[in-house]
């Protein structure tokens, strides 16, 4: 019987010919990650296991990302605790200030690769599925055990096949495609399942847009969001890989729990209204509400292509006097390249606050916190009540072009409204 991409990868990691949905397996893991929120708990649990070494230090990463550069004493204590453990173990570690958002850094630096099983103590670990690996988020205790043993128990998920036909229009990208999908299937539409993305539309989207699609699989409740590698994937991987990798593809006769098809050629930029990623509407149907803040960044849309797109809209224009626009390149490399290309200057000239890398604004952890009643257009992935600050603030999720246009207009706006 044919297997889906998720089943193929999981079977290969538990030494079996095949696995079926619902089976409990113990899977070998190729890479494990934790960040400054989840690592302190994971290290505490690791210490209880009676082992003193990671299963393989070059396959475990600790990334300070959420509260960096440390926002207060407690965050600094946590980061220090994590750093000392990482250095003691010889694990993969990035120093703060020259670090990045975990889910941008690990694929960009070739630590996670096609065919891998990757587990991370962060729900957006599913981002790496765009490389053709099985990557999923878990909690600190799960990660602590995987750090010690190099394996993890897992229930094999059923797979939902999603096919994107057509070619996306100008200003439409991965973010709009996945918001449209979540709007259709709901925030629990893929609960306990893997999503497997296909279709010619993916060929028109670079790796960055694909990461955005896989990143938000969790917003539909998905365990993973996978894509079979193609030439675009392999070109990206070849120049970065730190070790060997293996390409898996789903079998032609694979069994899916369900299949969905979308024609993305007529898709507009999408906006998820407060307070759920599933409240996705086409921009033309979104209310033109006045806004107080724009955030361009995060593991969803803080990559170089995202910054180029936002800069294209904001170049030679000014951020509206009622709006603060915060731009956060998602890694130190992205920051440097954006600097070289003049993008950071474009943002600064327009009146944006340009920051070093951090996950802070996305989760209201630090920087760009919203006051009561404030509205933000954000390129991040969640707009739950209170996500970015006061419980009575509002977050509108959108792509970087819409976010930049909104910053200029002072209200929710599309790029065509400002780029004449």
């Amino acid at each position: 019987m044919g297997m889906t991409l998720a089943e193929k990868i999981l079977a290969a990691h538990c030494g079996r010919e095949s696995v079926r949905p619902g089976e409990l397996i113990s899977a070998r893991v190729d890479f494990v990650m934790a960040n400054d929120v989840t690592a302190p708990l994971a290290i505490q649990e690791f210490r209880k296991l009676g082992v003193d070494r990671l299963f393989d230090p070059r396959r475990v990463a600790f990334i300070p990302s959420h509260f960096i550069p440390n926002k207060d004493i407690q965050s600094a204590q946590n980061a220090k605790f994590m750093r000392e453990f990482a250095l003691e173990q010889g694990a993969v570690y990035y120093e703060q200030g020259r670090a990045g958002v975990d889910h941008v850094l690990l694929p960009d630096d070739g630590w996670v690769l096609p065919g891998d099983v990757v587990v991370g103590a962060d729900s957006h670990t599913c981002t790496y599925g765009a490389l053709g690996c099985f990557a999923t988020g878990m909690g600190s205790t799960d990660i602590a055990c995987a750090m010690a043993t190099g394996d993890i128990w897992m229930r094999v998920p059923a797979t939902i096949k999603v096919v994107y036909n057509g070619r996306p229009a100008r200003w439409v990208g991965g973010k709009d495609i996945i918001l449209h999908t979540i709007g259709d299937i709901g925030v629990d539409g893929a609960l306990y399942c893997a999503l497997e993305f296909h279709g010619e539309a993916l060929r028109h989207i670079g790796m960055e847009g694909r990461f955005t699609i896989s990143n938000m699989a969790i917003e539909a409740g998905g365990k993973a969001g996978l894509m079979a590698p193609d030439e675009t994937t392999l070109a990206y991987v070849r120049e970065r890989a730190k070790r060997d990798w293996r390409v898996y593809e789903p079998d032609p006769g694979a069994e899916y729990r369900e299949a969905r098809e979308y024609d993305v050629s007529n898709l507009e930029p999408m906006v998820a209204l407060p307070s759920s990623p599933a409240n996705a509407v086409p921009l033309s149907k979104a209310p033109r509400v006045n806004i107080d803040q724009v955030f361009i960044g995060s593991c969803t849309n803080g990559r170089l292509a995202d910054l180029r797109l936002a800069a294209e809209v904001i170049r030679d224009r000014k951020v509206h006097e009622n709006v603060r626009c915060i731009v956060v390149p998602a890694s130190h490399e992205v920051y440097l390249q954006a600097l070289r290309e003049g993008l950071l200057e474009t943002f600064a000239e327009a009146g944006c606050a340009v920051s070093t890398t951090t996950c802070g604004p996305c989760l209201g952890g630090y920087m760009g916190i919203l006051a009561e009643g404030e509205r933000c257009v954000s390129t991040s992935n969640r707009n739950f009540p209170g996500r970015m600050g006061h419980v009575r603030s509002e977050v509108y999720l959108a792509n970087p072009a819409v976010a930049a246009a909104s910053a200029v207009a002072g209200r929710l706006a599309g790029p065509e409204e400002v780029v004449k």
Binding site: L24, V37, T38, P40, L41, Q44, E45, K48, L49, G50, V51, H66, F67, K71, D72, Q74, S75, N78, G120, A121, D122, S123, T125, G137, M138, G139, S140, T141, D142, A144, C145, A148, T149, W153, V187, D188, L191, Y192, G221, K223, S276, L363, G364, G365, I369, R382, F384, P385, G386, R387, V391
Partner: protein, 167 residues
């Protein structure tokens, strides 16, 4: 094990930001986190909740972040059990791993109101609504989950496995 307490009832998609807002994620002490449990959707929960109380919610409880702080603070607040129609996957794993009992039962959710007294027998999955005099049966835990719980959670289970591996 029999659990007893009063119901705090919520709707669908109670997310991890609602259970423990990110502004408290620089703390790891469960007792400190418990002071802020549910504070953005149910102000005063931490003061009202009594040992043994039960959280009842509809679908997709615990969606969002992987933060284990969420089940940790619910447990530290004194909640004995969470009953929902469905749980987000990561929350489900985290709850089992840290020893917070969770049960899936559509009928119990539909047949329960805030403030009702509940009695839950964990092994059998039998849920009694003492206020209304009704009885429900939750989906039993999969065997593997029971094994984890009996071992005292994932850390103890893994500790034993690692000890067996040593020559």
């Amino acid at each position: 094990m029999t659990l007893r307490g009063h119901v705090h009832k919520y709707g669908a998609n109670v997310d991890t930001d609602a259970i423990i807002p990110a502004r408290y994620l620089n703390m790891t002490d469960p007792a400190e986190l418990a002071k802020h449990c549910m504070e953005d959707i149910d102000e005063g929960f931490a003061e009202r909740v009594r040992p043994g109380d039960v959280i009842v919610a509809t679908t997709n409880f615990g969606c969002g972040s992987s933060r284990e702080h969420a089940p940790l603070c619910i447990k530290a607040a004194g909640v004995s059990c969470v009953i929902a129609k469905s749980f987000a996957r990561i929350f489900y794993r985290n709850a089992i791993n840290i020893g917070l009992p969770i049960l899936e039962c559509d009928d119990a959710v539909d047949g329960t109101d805030a403030g009702d007294g509940l009695e839950v027998e964990l092994e059998s999955g039998v849920i009694r609504n003492l206020t209304k005099g009704s009885t429900f049966r939750a989906k039993p835990y999969p065997d593997f989950m029971l094994e984890l719980m009996r071992a005292g959670g994932l850390v103890e289970y893994t500790r034993r496995r690692l000890a067996e591996r040593k020559p």
